[in-house]
């Protein structure tokens, strides 16, 4: 029996991520997997010029989708022009906490999406269907502020995807999701879209729970019969102000910084971290449903524990 960690080749760079706001965030969520906060400037903003350079680089590689994350992306003063520029190249998805959105930004982005062939997706993080469930994780008052952000997006013609980290027991999933939908509908979002994510026990979440124990690792044996396309590192890379890293989850791990160009960062990666175990278990946790990457794990059920 092999206990060594498998090495995963990049089959194709389908999803290019940008750590566009570095680690700077206006919130300090207790479950954040990269410890973002108003004071964490370990990773810096990406400028419009830097993103443009990467978009150009991505064309020859046939990148399919562009994702923007942080920190809070909209703290980056270039965020709106960055999204406008990206929509010339392909579909863009931005992961926001929804608390800092301004009407004039959304006017510009709605016009840019209308003029583009491509979709602009907003994913708004809310981690409970009430202040009582959300605010202990994301901070006082954040439920109301994020919900106002959701409604602002809806009023500008967007259909935001609400993402929630699963901080409730599995057996409550159906009830929690049902209540979530009703709360969003009552607030004025008539056809809410939801994406439920597993928590990643690294960064701040490691303090909140218990982190991973050393048996929670992916081994060679576990790869037999497993669909590798479920792993984010099989089809994604992320750009930060330090270079190109293997995936959006592991940017704080030194071994995840692969190289300086997208082409060179296509090298294989050994999935030796606890977070790789969660990625393995749940499959394609970072992409949108429309990209179809969640297929095998969700339908077969065989890999889920």
């Amino acid at each position: 029996m092999s206990t060594t960690a498998p090495t995963i080749a990049l089959s194709h760079l389908d999803h290019l991520w940008f750590q566009v706001a570095g680690t700077l965030c206006n919130l300090t969520c207790h479950h954040c997997f990269i410890s973002c906060s108003p004071k964490n400037n370990a990773f810096g903003f990406l400028s419009l010029d830097e993103v443009k350079r990467r978009l150009e680089e991505s064309v020859a590689l046939g990148v399919k989708e562009y994702y923007f994350t942080g920190g809070e992306p909209f703290l980056n003063p270039d965020m709106v022009p960055i999204l406008v520029e990206t929509l010339h190249y392909g579909p863009a998805t931005v992961l926001t906490n929804g608390t800092v959105l301004k009407d004039e930004w959304l006017d510009t982005l709605a016009a840019a999406e209308r003029a583009s062939l491509y979709s602009l997706e907003f994913r708004v993080s809310i981690d409970g269907f009430s202040p009582e469930t959300n605010d202990p994780i994301r901070g006082d008052g954040t439920f109301a502020r994020a919900l106002r952000g959701v409604i602002k997006l809806v009023e500008h013609g967007f259909l935001p995807i609400i993402t929630a980290a699963r901080t409730w027991p599995d057996e409550q999933e159906r009830e929690v999701v049902g209540r979530f939908v009703r709360v969003l509908q009552d607030a004025g979002y008539s056809r809410p879209r939801l994406k439920i994510l597993p928590t990643l026990r690294i960064g701040a979440e490691q303090q909140r729970t218990c982190g991973y124990d050393e048996t929670e690792r992916v081994t060679q044996d576990m790869m037999t019969g497993y669909d590798r396309s479920q792993l984010v590192c099989e089809h994604s890379r992320i750009v930060t102000d330090r270079g190109v890293h293997v995936c959006p989850i592991l940017i704080e791990s030194p071994d995840a910084l692969l190289d300086q160009t997208l082409a060179a960062a296509g090298s294989p990666y050994t999935i030796q971290h606890g977070a790789c175990f969660t990625c393995y278990q749940y499959g394609a946790i970072c992409s949108n449903a429309s990209s179809g990457f969640e297929t095998s794990a969700n339908l077969s059920g065989g890999q889920r524990t």
Partner: protein, 266 residues
């Protein structure tokens, strides 16, 4: 010798047991004098009486490839491999899958099992590649609003094709690529495309030396009231029947990207 005449072929996607729409589409294509009819897979799902599709394919010489649904039914798999993520969508997909599997004969399952994954042919000087989802993955979604042109150019380069035609998403579209190449999603015959209309669509690909490649999307009306009634008799979900009668999707909504979702009612 290079032909000087127009060559025209019909491409059908996703029949989804809708034998009434298939019959109407074949009639339309024959009336237009097509040189061949191709089906890009997913014979089953959604509608009633799966076995009524196969005699039509056979009688009219429709050249078929294997979609994810055909792979599943042909090989007796547990599910349709459709790529849904939402539990509600998977719930309805499973009802439809179990019904189709139970009502597809052994001979027809064998036919599905033996179908090729891709078909290549020449349309005049053009190299055409037919596939189900994409040339690289049978159940890949290629939506208009999430598929960059540079990605499609890369597929055309890698797969050495001037025209790539696919289906799987249920909504037709096309895109001009570099060097005069083209990507076409041919749409589906099985279900309206979430636009409030009850018709379905197929695609004509033609080439003439004078005008080059032409792609025409053809609307097909059929007796959708009869289909709905037969679905009721077979106790298929009301949600599916509503989609047939209204032209609005009531399921499979979570897989739609923002732009495509906004065009629908739900």
């Amino acid at each position: 010798m290079i032909s000087t005449s127009t060559i025209r072929v019909a491409c059908f996607g996703g029949i989804y047991n809708n034998y009434l729409a298939l019959e109407a589409a074949i009639r339309d294509a024959r009336r237009r004098g097509v040189d061949a009819i191709y089906c890009l897979g997913d014979m089953g799902a959604f509608g009633p009486h799966p076995d009524r599709v196969f005699p039509l394919l056979d009688q009219h010489g429709v050249i078929c490839l294997q979609g994810n649904y055909d792979d599943s039914i042909g090989n007796d798999l547990d599910n349709c491999q459709c790529g849904y993520t939402d539990p509600r969508d998977n719930y309805f997909a499973q009802i439809s899958y179990d019904y189709t599997l139970a009502n597809t004969s052994g001979a027809n399952r064998q036919f599905l099992r033996g179908l090729p994954k891709q078909i290549r042919f020449s349309l005049g000087p053009l190299r055409v590649l037919l596939c189900h989802g994409s040339p690289r993955k049978v159940n890949e979604f290629l939506w208009e609003s999430t598929t960059p042109t540079h990605f499609l150019n890369m597929l055309a380069d890698q797969h050495e094709a001037d025209v790539i035609a696919a289906t799987h998403t249920g909504i037709k579209w096309q895109r001009d690529l570099s060097d005069g190449r083209r990507f076409v999603n041919v749409g589906v015959l099985g279900r309206p495309e979430n636009d409030g209309q009850t018709n379905v669509w197929y695609t004509l690909l033609s080439h003439s030396p004078a005008t080059g490649l032409n792609v025409e999307f053809v609307p097909i009306t059929y007796d959708h009231d009869r289909l709905a009634e037969e679905m009721r008799q077979e106790k298929l979900p009301d949600e599916f029947i509503e989609a047939v009668l209204t032209g609005w999707w009531t399921t499979c909504l979570e897989i739609l990207p923002a732009k495509e979702r906004k065009r629908g009612q739900f």
